[in-house]
């Protein structure tokens, strides 16, 4: 059936079964492959997007449930890739293989929107469901603190 979804400020009409996970609609129907498949059960975070500004695991979100909501993916986080999280990630060269990083960055951006100066404990709590097999966690933690400083006006 036809569903109308708003992703990164653009309206898409897609012909999918309503229970189709948003992840696969983004990837296969819209070509937005920055959002990744890792587990399909909301246990790894590679598929993290924002729905109405909140973290959502798109692999466990039915497309029909996202109708009428504001969906943001990594492609829409910043038109120039200069969101403070992206700038901090680039400064510290956080990614290794990079596959989980879209999800890490979306989760970190949502965390900072909620808590502009997160503590290490905040990071532990909010980032716990975003796995990284390469083990970039130390860089992620440092880059979240750095992004908070950038967003707060630091150079």
């Amino acid at each position: 059936m036809a569903l109308s979804l708003t992703v990164n400020g653009r309206n898409y009409t897609v012909d999918v079964e309503p229970e189709t996970p948003l992840l696969w609609v983004l990837r296969d129907n819209m070509g937005l492959t920055g959002t990744k498949y890792g587990c399909g059960i909301a246990r790894c975070g590679t598929c993290t997007v924002h729905i109405d500004g909140q973290v959502a695991r798109s692999c466990a979100t039915q497309a029909a449930a996202a109708v009428g909501k504001r969906i943001t993916t990594i492609e829409g986080l910043s038109p120039t890739s200069t969101h403070p999280v992206q700038v901090a990630w680039t400064e510290l060269d956080v990614p290794q293989c990079g596959y989980c990083q879209s999800g890490q960055i979306m989760a970190a951006a949502a965390l900072l929107a909620k808590r502009p100066r997160p503590t290490d404990a905040d990071i532990d709590t909010e980032m716990e469901l975003n796995l990284c097999r390469c083990g970039t966690y130390q860089g992620i933690r440092a880059a979240i603190h750095r992004a908070a400083a950038i967003a707060g006006g630091a150079r």
């Binding site: 999918v16 079964e17 189709t20 696969w24 990837r27 296969d28 129907n29 070509g31 937005l32 492959t33 920055g34 990744k36 498949y37 890792g38 587990c39 399909g40 059960i41 246990r43 790894c44 590679t46 993916t73 990594i74 492609e75 986080l77 890739s81 992206q86 700038v87 990630w89 680039t90 400064e91 060269d93 956080v94 990614p95 290794q96 293989c97 990079g98 596959y99 989980c100 879209s102 960055i105 290490d120 990071i123 532990d124 709590t125 980032m127 716990e128 975003n130 796995l131 990284c132 097999r133 390469c134 083990g135 970039t136 966690y137 130390q138 860089g139 933690r141 440092a142 603190h145 750095r146």
Partner: protein, 737 residues
């Protein structure tokens, strides 16, 4: 102290200078760069202009943009930055003008292995490519100088090449201006390459060229390949390896939306076992989710085969039984049996490590398009020419008609080295016909059908003299042999030396050594796993060395120093480790430090882990100090990142997860039952360098993994008095009173 401070401190490069003094330098990442050094599709040319190829590695555009081709595959270890640095060091190109693309696998095969090394593994990218990459850069530089010399009628040695500019007196020209002429220059003799001590670029930290693509979602992984007319395949293979597909009922799903077909996957026995297609079914549809949904609804009948009753317990018992008997001899120096009888004290222990899987964040996938005159293949290949050969073999095509397009790899770690998934994708595409097919595994398939780390068990015995020093070592190993499955002729005599890596080749000065091995394979299929052999065997051996030290009344770190007095590089690593970690054994109960060291893939890496264990047995891993001797550095930040990665790898396997077998099949499936380490479990990792320089260039992707688990195990013992000889640590009762 915040974690940010710690990370910054981890960039401090500590180099032990001759004479034992220490030079401290600070290398920081560069500023954020605006543009990536490559296309999101990394197999595509990074520039739209017609450039001049000076040699197979180097293309100079009219605007000076210089493309350097990379023969190794980017799976996070930084080859898209380190490899071009090796060329640029000699080329004297302006680094800001450097862009990169993958070397072309088809051209490599057509032109007699033109790019020399296109298989990525064995921590060999730098150490096995460095000389010919430096040579490619130096040769191009000299041709540019010679072209300018001829144009300006001056001797070549008066032409200076620097930052993509050629000068001689008041004459000046760019690399771009002389690129065409340079490509035609014949040199009487190829130039010598720079040696350690002459480098300007190598040893500095440069920003990774691939980072910009990995912070905005544009980097193309295999899973992200998009082609006109492409269809999607979901696969399910027989749950018990060794079983067969009996039948399936396509009628039950053929009316479902988007479904195109269901196809039987049957192995062909003449294909090598290492790439043979597993028995199974593929469902193809217009989107992946439709294919997967239909596959999950497809009625399938399996013949589960002869191993349907196998369990981890039974396989472990077979290994334990084998250890009672002498095995094939893998090391024999001195007279161990006789020396053991003279020992004042004998220490013995048995260690075990089970199966584990790579768990790349990107599940296995591959895209194949078969056309009349050519076949195109896209994927995260660790070995593109191998992928090309598998496809050509499977489809009966000439290798020159197969074109590989290597994507970014969402993790590799050895899993993507042998291309078994490529043959599977080729088989599906063969049945589908003339349209691109992207095949992808689910996480559950990726866990349960992984060709992962072999299980193994070690019985270790050490004889000590009256002073507590080791005099004789006797080890027996029984385990699964990956070589027996992937390269059977290499173990034809029943001896798999590689499976004993990390024990058999220990570097301690012990007068008598005897090491024997048994191959005990099961119905699982194993293959290369980050630091094969070493990764689990060092967990056995380096914990055992701690047991030996304590039994002989020695300090574990000091014993390691005393047993390697003849090895200057080991001495440097261990002494640096002692100094940097503040290793001590007088911490309050519930806190502990543990040391471990290993040499593999050309590098020596020592680690000290610090842990806290609560009375109730709750483990917190506080810190790892890591000391690296890889001889020389290409770029220190990437090495520091790889050390963090290796610690996470080793700890994850020792603490959190293991593959178990029941009813012949792997029990664990997704991250709920087969977890990875999380950010809130991450210790602080601080990397220090103790570089011995010279001609030593060690690997970096793997050798940090083996000591991590052992250092942790030793720290847990120091904190609790409990020795974990059989993983997992988090399933061990660590309570203390």
């Amino acid at each position: 102290m915040t974690h940010l401070d710690i990370t910054r401190r981890s960039f401090i490069v500590t180099t032990a200078a001759a004479g034992g003094g220490l030079m401290i330098g600070v290398a920081m990442s560069g500023p954020a760069h605006a543009a990536a050094g490559m296309k999101p599709n990394p197999w595509e040319r990074p520039s739209d202009k017609a450039g001049q190829e000076i040699n197979a590695w180097i293309v100079v555009d009219p605007d000076g943009t210089t493309t350097i081709r990379v023969g190794q595959s980017e799976m996070g270890q930084g080859v898209f930055t380190a490899m071009p640095m090796l060329v640029a060091e000699e080329l004297h190109v302006d680094w800001k003008m450097v862009k990169v693309e993958y070397a072309d696998g088809n051209r490599h095969v057509r032109n007699n292995n033109l790019y020399q090394r296109m298989s990525t593994g064995g921590s060999g990218a730098v150490r096995n490519s460095r000389v010919f990459l430096q040579q490619a850069g130096a040769s191009a530089r000299e041709r540019l100088r010679e072209a300018a010399a001829q144009a300006w009628s001056v001797p070549r040695d008066q032409v200076v090449a620097k930052d993509s500019v050629l000068t001689a007196g008041n004459r000046r020209g760019t690399f771009a201006e002389f690129a065409t002429r340079a490509s035609q220059v014949q040199l009487a003799q190829e130039p010598a390459i720079k040696q350690s001590g002459q480098f300007q670029l190598l040893g500095t930290t440069l920003a990774r060229l691939d980072t910009p693509l990995k912070v905005n979602g544009t980097a193309t992984f295999g899973a992200d390949v998009k082609l006109p007319g492409m269809v999607h395949a979901a696969v399910k293979v027989v749950p018990v390896r060794g079983g067969k597909l009996k039948s399936f009922n396509f009628d039950a799903i053929k009316g479902r939306p988007g479904v195109i077909g269901a196809y039987a996957l049957k192995p062909v026995d003449t294909h090598p076992l290492q790439t043979r297609v597993d028995e199974g079914v593929a469902v193809v549809a217009d989107t992946y989710y439709r294919a997967l949904t239909a596959l999950n609804l497809l009625p399938i009948e399996w013949d589960l085969g002869p191993d349907v009753a196998q369990t981890t317990t039974a396989y472990k018992a077979k290994m334990a039984e084998a250890l009672k008997q002498p095995g094939a001899v893998g090391r024999n120096d001195g007279d161990t049996i006789a020396a053991m009888k003279t020992a004042a004290k004998v220490v013995e222990a048995t260690y075990y490590t089970g199966y584990d899987g790579h768990a790349c964040m990107e599940p296995l996938n591959c895209t194949v398009h078969i056309a009349a005159d050519r076949v195109d293949v896209w994927g995260g290949f660790q070995n593109p020419p191998g992928a090309l050969a598998v496809v050509a073999d499977h489809l009966g095509r000439q290798p020159v008609d197969v074109y590989t397009h290597t994507t970014f790899l969402g993790g590799g770690f050895g899993l993507r080295a042998r291309n078994h998934e490529v043959r599977q994708a080729a088989e599906i595409a063969r049945q589908v016909g003339n349209r691109p097919v992207k095949m992808m595994w689910t996480r559950e398939e990726d866990t349960r059908h992984v060709r992962g780390r072999p299980a193994g068990m070690s019985y270790l015995r050490m004889g000590l003299d009256a002073s507590g020093m080791p005099i004789a070592f006797y080890g027996r190993y029984a385990g699964h042999s990956a070589a027996a499955q992937n390269n059977p002729t290499s173990v034809a005599n029943g001896l798999d030396l590689g499976s004993m890596n990390g024990i058999r080749d220990h570097r301690y000065k012990i007068a008598h050594n005897l090491m024997e091995g048994h191959i005990r394979n099961t119905n699982l299929h194993t293959q290369a796993y980050r630091a094969p052999g070493y990764e689990h065997n060092l967990w056995h051996f380096e914990q055992f060395i701690d047991e030996v030290a304590l039994a002989g009344g020695k300090d574990p770190l000091q014993l390691r120093i005393d047993l390697t007095k003849d090895l200057p590089d080991w001495q440097m690593v261990l002494n640096t480790l002692k100094q940097k970690s503040g290793y001590r054994r007088d911490l309050p109960r519930g806190e502990g430090m543990g040391v471990a060291i290993g040499e593999s893939f050309g590098s020596i890496i020592g680690m000290v882990a610090k842990v806290t264990v609560s009375r109730r047995g709750q483990l917190t891993i506080d810190k790892f100090d890591v000391v690296v001797d890889c001889g020389n550095l290409v770029t220190p930040a990437i090495v520091a990142h790889q050390m963090q990665s290796c610690v996470v790898w080793g700890v994850t396997d020792a603490v959190y997860r293991e593959l178990t077998i029941d009813k012949g099949a792997i029990v664990e499936g997704n991250f709920d039952t087969y977890p990875l380490m999380k950010i809130n479990q991450m210790p602080v990792v601080e990397t220090h360098f103790a570089l011995t320089g010279g001609n030593k260039w060690g690997g970096i992707g793997e050798p940090g993994c083996p000591p991590a688990a052992a250092a942790l195990g030793n720290a847990v013992f120091a904190a609790t008095g409990k020795r974990v000889r059989d993983r997992l640590i988090n399933q061990t009762d660590l309570r203390w009173a």
